[in-house]
Symmetry: C2
Subunit: 713 residues, 2 copies
Amino acid sequence: MTRREFGKLTTGISAVAAAQDLTDRSVLPGVWRLRFGTPESITPVTTRFYQPARDRISSLPAVQQPPIALNAIAGTASARGFEVRLPLQGGEAIYGLVLQFHSVLQRGLKKKLRVNADPVADIGDTHAPVPFYVSSSGYGVLIDSARYVNIYCGNKVKKHTRRPRTSGIDATRVAAELPASFSRYNVGEQSDVLVEISRAQGVDIYLFAGPTMRQAVQRYNLFSGGGALPPRWGLGFWYRCYGKFNQSEVLQLASELRQEQIPCDVLGLEPGWQSHSYSCSFAWSDDFPDAATMLSRLKDAAYKVNLWEHAFTHPSSPIYKPLYEHSGNYEVWDGLVPDFLDLEARNIFGGYHDRELISKGIAGFKLDECDNSDYTGNWSFPELSQFPSKADGEQMHSLFGLHYQQTVQSVYVRHGLRTFGLVRSSHALAAPFPYVLYSDLYGHRDFVRALVNSGFSGLLWCPEVRDAIDKEDLVRRLQCVIFSPLAMVNAWYIRNPPWKQVERDANNAGKFSEDSREVEGICRKLIELRMQLLPYIYAAFVRYHLEGLPPVRALALDYSDDVKTWTIDDQYMFGDDLLVAPLFAGQTQRQAYLPKGEWCDFWTGELYTGSHMVSVTAPLDHIPVFVKAGTLLPLAQPTLHTDDPNAFVLTVRAYGSGDGNATLFEDDGSMKPDFTRVSIRWEENEPAGKLERFGRIYAKTYTVRTWERVRAS
Amino acid sequence: MTRREFGKLTTGISAVAAAQDLTDRSVLPGVWRLRFGTPESITPVTTRFYQPARDRISSLPAVQQPPIALNAIAGTASARGFEVRLPLQGGEAIYGLVLQFHSVLQRGLKKKLRVNADPVADIGDTHAPVPFYVSSSGYGVLIDSARYVNIYCGNKVKKHTRRPRTSGIDATRVAAELPASFSRYNVGEQSDVLVEISRAQGVDIYLFAGPTMRQAVQRYNLFSGGGALPPRWGLGFWYRCYGKFNQSEVLQLASELRQEQIPCDVLGLEPGWQSHSYSCSFAWSDDFPDAATMLSRLKDAAYKVNLWEHAFTHPSSPIYKPLYEHSGNYEVWDGLVPDFLDLEARNIFGGYHDRELISKGIAGFKLDECDNSDYTGNWSFPELSQFPSKADGEQMHSLFGLHYQQTVQSVYVRHGLRTFGLVRSSHALAAPFPYVLYSDLYGHRDFVRALVNSGFSGLLWCPEVRDAIDKEDLVRRLQCVIFSPLAMVNAWYIRNPPWKQVERDANNAGKFSEDSREVEGICRKLIELRMQLLPYIYAAFVRYHLEGLPPVRALALDYSDDVKTWTIDDQYMFGDDLLVAPLFAGQTQRQAYLPKGEWCDFWTGELYTGSHMVSVTAPLDHIPVFVKAGTLLPLAQPTLHTDDPNAFVLTVRAYGSGDGNATLFEDDGSMKPDFTRVSIRWEENEPAGKLERFGRIYAKTYTVRTWERVRAS
């Protein structure tokens, strides 16, 4: 009934991709492919849009030997599908399979990686079920499948195969240092990762060398094509308007934000902009009788416009008829399901978006509802659907969000325009897509855990702010979103900004809270902080783009040799030098773990010694943030939007006593810029530092107005 | 890639069962089988233990025509597996696919029927994923599969196949009468039930005629073999002891319950009785140095003993070695997974239980952990496991609980002994097994919803009482379990009865609440009520056994022509004449819907006119229960256990003004008794009624001491 085989080794990437998408057939350094049986034809790799960033992979450390013994990886075909077994050492932790909301350390867990909106349980359902994991031992594994892959992360023991604990790792120490709740997972024992791919008769497994876990992630992200590079405005502040606003109400809100001195770069329009939205017409509604004028006025006020939509296409849409033959055999909300794996469907869908929206100035989109729906009303297409591309509903669910991104991204690529947007589902190889995941779920702690997890598998996450229980909840949530890839308030169900009234019904009735001015003030300061951090955040994204290093990372990714970081799910690295330890509503104090080295309080400069748990307090208007001692942190002058030239005027803060340096980037904002590297240095005893520029001079360039040393009094 | 075919019609049951299990090949009235493609060899029907109750099916109304047009049912094979489409009319509701915790009306939902412990979401994971549903139009459908069947209950629309709403049902009226929250499910439209069975290349579909929905359930239960018939003691009160009690502590508790006049028939021992429990040795621990004496003393005190266990067999168990070759290829908690589909495994496992436990007086078992574990620590065997019987892990998960019951039941059958026990997983055709489902989840409302749902698919459910938030929560929970198939307090993690202290830590520290005497008094009264209801409950179970009518039923099952009952998930029928509308902690009042007819308050006799929503209040010591007007309700004298002859001394209560009658049953307690029917009648104007007996006279017979009319003053 079953046959067992060992994978065929290939040092190189697959060449089975659709011809229009993949031309690169060369070997990639530190990336191995093992082919088992006959892989399926529709997978993340075979349908990829972005090519591997081969030159940049070469700049990672050379690794000659595969990171795990290849003859220890075995594949087995059975009537159920295909099974792959990968070894796991005692004391080895694994991460990824994101975007999980409910767990960070995956060793010991089972995950059925199935795309789903609003998963409330830790069983593998997620907006972005990426079949990629990384090991604390410094390698990554991609299972190249669009199936709902079942992964048992080292918790299944074959009968009578007790194995010794010995390995290169001090497994006993690891097991001892983990919290007691992890003891049941037998982390100290040798085990396997078991992968089951239903229906498949083979699979390609890609191994990514490190040598560190962080470098394995970088290698995976560069294999994916490198990290997304948003436009600068995408890193400013976003505000999504009430869904029922009409054209003049949108303009009124845009004007109010400017008057009230709330920085804002992007205005998002929610379903009400369309003549039909469930399913979508992709055409302006009667509430927007002169969209061109509105867009022109918003442009004059330096706003970018982002439009909500989903892909299910209503009969009233101009693209319904042309899409009909290029869609699945089931409807969603009376609408067609475009077959985004079909080039013609992408052309019809993308072409319309180009002509009617993107060419008319729409800067980006929020791609909603592209996940599945078992948890929420079950509105999506069944897994047994069939598509012209020969994908079934299961494969299409896995890849739908990814190829929806690709469809829209192709248009921006054609125009040479950067965009930044939101998407509700993604999958493997997603790093180059300038889209940030979000959810209808709203647990603040889950949102932080998603931030922590996102960096493991090439995803970005937005812990968006909607309403709140009280002002404390609002401010604490806003603090997190400020220290995230996309800083957004999503007011789609409230008429007024949440700082005027957190309670939904009262907000919509226009009853503002008594302390609304005070709360607005705190929020304005936080949004201004986002604007100040923009040069630093942009630099982190350039590193994501060029080096594959995620801008938001679990502590375990940067400090994988420190077991105490392995289970931390409520702190994260933000860029190179900042460690964020958010507070949640109801907390005035928390414990935070600081890894090795010295750390400074972002606000006061107070010095902490690392490798310790510390107790942090922060007033409501401060979020606990720690800066690596020695950091030069360049902060921009806060502006109302990124178009303002003052956004390039810096105050450079030096933390700690040592000499610091920082790197920023300037460019022309195009899709493939030559980056000008801006090096900032400041000797300890000098009254001011130096800014040096390597590369051409662009219209907007950084200048330093103030040099500040931040030290605890 | 796909081929479509129509099922082959057979009026009769399958004959593909294992020879030792199925000898009946005859046609069954009102049951049709449609065979599509080549069904799998391991299914609930092919591995069944109980035979259909063919004589009793014949006593249901004759139905000549299949309940749905057979040529409207289509099957399609694809690379994914097998798909079956069954028609659904506008205005038709469907139920079942139990044991669901989170929804009752299934139309509009998708369920992936996958066995799982503690499912927190409404996606189909459940302790008992029975692939059987019933329709408000009066028929049932069994999908005979041990796969994780995917069922889309009328919510998926094929592209461009809008269908009219016309059907025999007034679909517009139905849609209008349902709560607004159901509008999204398009209940008014014609649709399909889509069934997808992964990996299978065919399937048998069984159709069960009604003509009513209730009769369709009866027909399914009789096809399963008829409902379970518990021993009388099984319907008394159960108390499961603290898991760490030793032998003398168990005896001490047994003695206390008698001293404190708390009725109790069954004492349950939890893991501590075994020398090794995760995995299990099935041998007494050192804390029970003389189990034989303990059992003898408990027997003298009229207690029955029920032992906790699970099936995963520890290396220290005497049956480890013999089971080794008859177990799956993965371990659970270092233990073997017995292949309960393998006769030899059942003989080894059952034989040991017989010799060491059942023959020594153990009256029954609690079969724990036989579900799967995606939600809770992921401790069970993987779906890719392989078993000697050729079942894979998925099929074994579906059938494990069912065949665990069979393994133990076979022993009791061999002895001709009735048992009653608990099990954490079940599946199709389970009605004859005298096992009641339970869960580690503890939501009181979910527990009531499970009671409501259980009757749709031949399952019994115990809303067991453990600890509580406060005394109100305790009493409200106890009230529900009194009106349930198995009345149990499960004190496995508390040393003392919860009425002494509801809070867990305080309970274990022996700190009793100030009002413990008062709370104990309320609880005693409720447990006495259980003992009083026992003749009535036993009669309901005899009807389950003989006629397939579940003792606990959704209102929709008895009143399927009343759309107002369709979505009720917090009231249920208990036996023929009682309608229970439980209160939950925090409530002093609730709305309850009374169907057509007249109803009397159980406590006061107050008369209500049905087809109305009524407002009910009840003091803490009363649960709202309504009695059909005209009912003669025989209540036994409360005794400390069912062995007491006074348990047969009745007070007969007449509710309402009409003439009443009631039927009770007497028998010898054996496995296949000749029931003596006891008919009780009471003319309105007579001072007392009559008891007539049809059948032989047994040692214990009912007598009526008191005749009471219950009327509101």
